[in-house]
Symmetry: C2
Subunit: 233 residues, 2 copies
């Protein structure tokens, strides 16, 4: 469908406006992750976004509103991404397969939006209560997804019964969440990190009674090939 | 040996002075972990330490000096504790045993000084360069210990050759470091967390070619009993 002149103009303005808003959010995430909540100034955000500071007020009511949105956006997108990836899995995916997909999706997504992730992880404990409401709600929802994954795997007998379920889940989440603090694209590929994380998580959580039945080679390769198939489906 | 009156008085003053200094550091760690570098005010530290703010200057030249010391102290003590624990191990401890001891020591120590740990992890990326010099040096030394542990285990053929050594080490360190953000003494014992972490790390890293030779029960119990023996020696 060909748009007429006026409609196209409105659409262009809208998409430019959306892009500017995103650029402000990206810059705020960048500054917030490095300077922290108390020292994040709109002037620095504006400079990084290559805008005049007052222009920010066209998109956000206040400094606090902008910071609240950064904190919320990162975790909200991460949760939506994880939900979608899990929903897209074929029904025959085992609970352990689903955990390994969650490891991969979370690593890739959090490193892809690393400014938002570090802004959130470094500032979550320092933000005033009223700026944390939406963030904390999303984080809780994200945590519930992981809780469900571990509960399912445990019920299916796929987890080592010696493990404490909560501790195991939080340790895995920690390994994944912390990656944003050390990952450096120049020091190795993201796929290498993902494969290593999946191997540690799979073997680390596995019910050892199940292990001997699967040949070692096949076991290590399983999450990757399964994942590739899923992505293509 | 019985001290005379004057010597005892001096010794008492000294030990009181050391305790006050520690109380200030503890309070600064508490405030710094919750408010962040930019918002940590000496008045809040003094109030938490139940002192008058000017009294702090008797122990620390400036706000920056105090914060620098908090950041340094946490990681320096953690590294010293880890070095000592590893040095105390019997020579027959395998490289994997040493990794598992490092997991236990780091978890116990970081959770024990949790205000210092969160102050350090939440603020490391936000502190001005000149306040990070000693902190970063200690952190690098701490990282080198872990690098050595993994290198030794790899050389001894105890690690799954499918793992990327750097990624594996950083994922394990992440799982351990992140614990301070979620651990709650009311939600379960620290020993449970330690045992779960050791099980995941051991099975997650292990060279699977080695696994079948050790019965599952004995394998899970090994790090604990070895550790207990060491602590008693």
């Amino acid at each position: 469908m060909i748009k007429n002149g006026r409609t196209r103009k409105v659409a262009e303005d809208e998409s430019k406006s959306i892009r500017t808003r995103e650029r402000i959010l990206d810059s705020a995430a960048y500054i917030l992750s490095r300077k922290g909540y108390a020292s994040t100034r709109l002037a620095d955000v504006a400079e990084h976004a290559e805008l005049q500071a007052p222009a920010i007020y066209y998109y956000f009511k206040s400094r606090e509103d902008l910071i609240e949105e950064v904190m919320y956006t990162g975790i909200a997108h991460m949760r939506a991404n994880l939900s979608n990836a899990l929903d897209a899995l074929p029904p025959e995916a085992s609970p352990m397969d689903r955990i390994l997909v969650a490891v991969e999706e979370s690593l890739r997504f959090e490193l892809n939006i690393s400014d938002y992730t570090t802004a959130s992880t470094r500032n979550a404990g320092q933000l005033p209560e009223h700026l944390r409401v939406r963030h904390d709600k999303e984080r809780a929802a994200y945590g519930r997804i992981w809780r469900g994954l571990f509960a399912d795997a445990s019920e299916a007998g796929q987890l080592n019964p010696d493990l404490d379920l909560r501790a195991a889940r939080m340790l895995v989440l920690g390994a994944v969440s912390w990656a944003v603090e050390w990952w450096n694209p120049k020091a190795g590929s993201l796929s290498t990190v993902v494969r290593t994380a999946q191997t540690i998580v799979k073997n680390g959580l596995a019910n050892s009674a199940e292990l001997p039945s699967v040949p070692a080679k096949k076991r290590a390769a399983a999450p990757r090939s399964r994942r590739t198939k899923t992505a293509a489906s």
